[in-house]
Amino acid sequence: MRAVLTVIGKDMVGILAGVSGICAETGVNVMEVTQSILQDMFAMIMLVDISDSNVPFDELSARLAKYGDDNALSIRIMHEDIFNSMHRI
């Protein structure tokens, strides 16, 4: 299953490293990354493959959310299809 991982918050050093570190630990393969900074607000979007993840989806989601809470970032991971269905015909 492919999922979209979004990180939104104030820009700071190490966000990409921190999030991709969690992906590496949990066996989540990062397929694409885009990031942009608009007036100090950092928005990173990763397309990830979680088919070979070594933790259940709930745990992955909770670990990312905790990292987000600790660093004042909003981190979400959602099934790719929700975006495909809403924005593509």
Binding site: T6, E32, I45, D81, I82, N84, H87
Partner: protein, 452 residues
């Protein structure tokens, strides 16, 4: 890869604009649970619901987590119980309500709908007893919802049933005075009731439906209002286009969730109900959409036109986004469940008469409206007759869900809590319709019924 702007738009809709799936409703036929012994029938009903809906709640929660979209309610709709109860005349019908309540508790759903009777042309076996038992059934159960269909475009309006329902509505409130008259909030009286509606309190599983189906109701008034903020000075055509585009996106998400739930539960997908269902939360109001179009307050002159536009645009946008559309599909205007409606009713901008006009152009009827506690059963019946007439003549669903606030008068407040919200007691016209209501009989079906 997906466009960053699109991804952030979806996240903003969910995070800031209250976008959610309002309900996944499993429709279950109970026709094979009919027994000549009421105890055996109740056991069969309990067993079948528990067997079919065992994984409904957990599957809904799994989808919620994986897709990151809140699914507020998981519900069950069943075959109108009057049809099942008809097999054992003389039995206490309330027992069926208790069986439904127990089953709902066991599988963990929020509500079960279908303590219902369809009497638009006349009373069949079981109908009369079930309708009489509604106040007791709703007062002694937590999760059971009830509905009665008293009219249709094809059949006309059963005025005997209309007369009876005025009394039943009052009794529902009287029996639940200590619980904010909640019995009356779980009862809907329809004209042209849809058989696949996933929304409570009016959901039931029609006799023409499959054994089991999954129906999904979407929501998202907050998303539509936020989208309209982007065209502050656009003309009305631009407003309609913006609503259509937004409704399309919302419905696509509903379709995705419905298909996924259907696949995981191995149950056929029924319909997506394209409704804008408000909640009392700030930013989740249909009234605020109308105000965003340029009304100082919902209820002002122009409200009916704005609502007609909204209702039509929601359907046009949504219909291409889903393979099967059904249920009520349109904009809901429940007063106590909509922050903007509550404000408008409190300040006097919105009256029952204006709400009645609005129901001619939107998807439901006079919904979640508190009326003074001394409103007579005849007046309640007459309000129902008016509403049913609008539905009958316009070939659309209309309904009433009125709450006679026993012991309270106009201007007092009633607090229901949760999604049911709160609201002021609204004034009703006091001139008596008693003679008209006491006549009974049937309003003949209108010319519109002769389409063959």
């Amino acid at each position: 890869m997906l466009n960053t702007k699109d991804i952030l738009e979806t996240i903003r809709m969910i995070q800031d604009e209250n976008l959610d799936i309002r309900t996944i409703t499993m429709g279950i036929s109970l026709l094979d649970c009919s027994r000549s012994d009421a105890s055996a029938a109740c056991d069969a009903i309990y067993d079948k619901i528990c067997r079919y809906a065992e994984k409904l709640v957990s599957t809904g929660e799994d989808i919620e987590r994986e897709y990151g979209i809140p699914i507020i309610n998981k519900r069950i709709a069943v075959t109108p119980i009057a049809m099942i109860a008809a097999a054992c005349p003389g039995a206490d019908t309330v027992r069926y309500a208790h069986a439904l309540d127990r089953a709902a508790e066991t599988v963990g759903v929020n509500f079960v709908g279908g303590y219902s009777a369809l009497v638009h042309k006349g009373f069949g076996p079981g109908d009369y007893a079930l309708i009489q038992s509604i106040p007791e059934a709703l007062a002694t159960t937590k999760k059971v919802c009830s509905s009665v269909n008293v009219g249709s475009t094809k059949a006309g309006i059963n005025m005997d049933a209309v007369q009876m329902m005025g009394r039943v509505i009052r009794e529902c409130a009287e029996k639940t005075v200590d619980d904010s008259y909640f019995g009356a909030a779980k009862l809907v009286v329809f004209c042209n009731a849809p058989e696949d509606n996933p929304f409570m309190a009016g959901a039931f599983h029609g006799a023409g439906e499959a054994d089991c189906v999954i129906n999904v109701g979407v929501s998202g008034p907050g998303v539509v209002r936020a989208a309209l903020e982007k065209v502050p000075d656009g003309d009305i055509t631009e407003v309609a286009d913006m609503i259509k585009k937004t409704a399309f996106k919302i419905t696509r998400m509903g379709q995705l969730v419905a298909k996924e739930a259907s696949k995981r539960l191995c149950v056929p997908f029924g319909i997506v109900d394209l409704s804008l269902a408000p909640t009392p939360a700030v930013g989740d109001s249909v009234a605020h959409i109308l105000e965003e179009m340029g009304l100082e307050r919902c209820g002002a002159h122009g409200t009916t036109a704005c609502l007609a536009l909204l209702n039509d645009a929601v359907k046009k946008g949504g219909v291409m986004a889903s393979s099967h559309v059904g249920g009520l599909s349109g904009a809901f205007i429940p007063v106590s469940e909509d922050a903007g409606m509550i404000e408008a009713a409190r300040c006097g901008a919105l009256s029952i008469e204006k709400l009645e006009a609005m129901t001619a152009v939107c998807s439901v009827g006079l919904d979640m409206i508190c009326v003074p506690g001394d409103t007579s059963a005849e007046i309640l019946s007459a309000i129902l007759a008016d509403e049913a007439a609008i539905g009958m003549v316009n070939s659309k669903t209309t309904a009433i869900r009125l709450i006679p606030a026993i012991g309270k008068k106009e201007g007092d407040e009633v607090e229901f809590g949760g999604l049911f919200g709160s609201g002021p007691v609204m004034s009703v016209n006091r001139y008596s319709p008693a003679k008209f209501i006491s006549r009974g009989g049937r309003i003949p079906a209108p010319m519109q019924s002769l389409k063959n």
